[in-house]
Amino acid sequence: MMPDLGKYAFAVLASYGVSLALIVVLVALSIRRARRVRAELEKIEERVKRHG
């Protein structure tokens, strides 16, 4: 099943590894920041509402 990459195994695997890692990091950072900012906004909005 695994394709035989021959002498180019390093180049191909490293390319996939680097790219996927970068994409995963970017997505994870985006989601984490989205969650944090959303929670913060909800907290502030609640406080504003309570104080009128």
Partner: protein, 242 residues
Amino acid sequence: MSIWEYANPVKFIRTTDRLLPGVSMAAVLCLVTGLVWGYFFTPDDYRQGATVKIIYLHVPAALMAINAWIMMLVTSLIWIIRRHHVSALAARAAAPVGATFTVIALATGALWGQPMWGTWWAWDPRLTSFLILFLFYLGYMALWSAIENDDTAADLTSILCLVGSVFALLSRYAVLFWNQGLHQGASLSMDKEENVADVFWYPLLVCIAGFVLLFVALVFLRTQTEIRARRSRALLAREGRT
């Protein structure tokens, strides 16, 4: 109904909230399909061997790195002309995504160039232009994060984006002139369809679609985040005043 309705932040968030799951799912689906197809089920190129599999990451990333800048240019123009906050924030949200794609294109290019050209890096026009594009992304993001006032930051970065686009184009031609024909650069270009056999072309198309969808999903999510962060700041500022 006009497209400008989406310039309303609330409406934008509501619409993208509805779209986001679908777009993300489609992005994951396309990326997984395209990459698995490309990695496991395509033959090696007779000339380049297994390295041809890098194309499924390299070309879509490079394509989207440029398209992200073009999108930032368009949204910056919309901000300058029509002053919709969502537009400026979308440009801000797209910049790190574009920069990441640029890094992917450069890294995979280096890894590909090493076995094919015998060198990680050559001052080939294409490679050099991408490096310069990356520098432009860095400057743009640095300027955004350096300015505190949101509107000022949006204005200044928009103008930087416009001026930067002109200079990026100039650099592109300058670089072509500077190192023209010294390197085989274009022979590896897969831009022209006839360079790629169908076996490589179809999975590549799926991967490109995956990168486009990934970009759209990330920009939606990050723009929402920017809108919320901005609203938080506005609320806090109002609180501080009363």
